[in-house]
Symmetry: C2
Subunit: 204 residues, 2 copies
């Protein structure tokens, strides 16, 4: 099947992208607005980039409910700071609660029964229930497109890392059976990471 | 555990990032150089961004073996075109073969016994054995940092999509049990997507 995406409605293109680019890691992004109100929302167009400086990227889509700009993006561009918290199986349901479109002054920490913990390097709090939190400052934001279906790619530099004490083994590697992350699939589907296999690295 | 990444070697930071940002989707990137030589290599700092225009991002790390710039990045910046192929369980071993650091003139298609198929909108070929291929043109590249551990974030616009005919159901949704994607974890670990659960969407 050969598809020219320009002939499709952007919602059909979106369905193909979220169905094919899987599994996606989840950034649970906490931010603060100018008045100090907290915001918390999940984004699965998320990944690492480099390690020097430590770099993470998230893409935030246009929101018709928010006149284009989601609260998370507004807050990142305004304050230049955000925290990316990692979602584990234990916090999956709470994460899902924070994905609702609610007014900007609604605190999703309170909505989902979560605890904001003070960050060390940035003003927005981390999620105390998350096993890992990356405190970030904004490096660059790259808008791509305009209107429904458009997105802004946010590039952040990690300034501080919180790691739950039990996550690392004695050699300093994160243990996935302790982290218990979840991955994002299409629609309402997620996956646990239980079906693991190894292939020897070819790259040095 | 509280960690200031500036106090760590970038390789230790890398270990934390690839251990915590999981599971990652895999972009199997095919490119061509000025002479028409093919290159093919996997990158797991990959995700979708928007759907209008359809946008994909990959981050390509500094390569000491290549004086900094991997062949994939060189080719993308030179030709402005690339193809992101999706890796399924069936092609996992072949994908791993193409992750070796080899000279620029080595054709990883031949190395791994894969078939280059002509693309419709760009010059680099797609992987005929992949269930999905996204033909892309370069929108923006954003270098972050310098030297070991640095990366270049490549933003691509999808111009054409190849989808294997059996992947979509009658409502136009990609069927994950037909796609059978794999996810990237840390070290030499990968995951199959077999342990799936649903949570109702809160976001409109």
């Amino acid at each position: 099947m050969e598809i020219n995406p320009q002939t499709l409605d952007q919602r059909e293109v979106y369905k193909l992208l979220i169905g094919c680019v899987v599994p996606r890691p989840i950034a649970w992004v906490s931010t603060s607005d100018e008045a100090g109100n907290y915001n918390l929302a999940p984004y699965s167009f998320f990944n690492a980039a480099g390690s020097n400086p430590p770099t993470l990227t998230i893409a935030i889509n246009y929101s018709a409910a928010k006149s284009g700009r989601k609260d998370t993006l507004h807050n990142i561009l305004t304050l230049g700071e955000f925290v990316i918290n990692i979602v584990s199986e234990e916090t999956a349901a709470a994460m899902n609660e924070t994905s609702a479109d609610v007014p900007a002054d609604v605190d999703e920490f309170a909505l989902a029964g979560l605890t904001p913990a003070p960050s060390r390097a940035v003003r927005p709090p981390r999620v105390a229930e998350s096993p890992v939190s990356f405190e970030c400052t904004l490096h660059t934001s790259v808008p791509v497109g305009e209107g429904p279906g458009s997105s802004t790619i946010v590039i952040g530099i990690v300034r501080h890392i919180y790691l739950r004490d039990d996550l690392l083994n004695e050699r300093g590697y994160v243990q996935i059976d302790r982290l218990r992350p979840i991955g994002r699939l299409a629609g309402s589907a997620y996956c646990r990471i239980s079906d693991i296999f190894d292939m020897p690295n070819r790259r040095s």
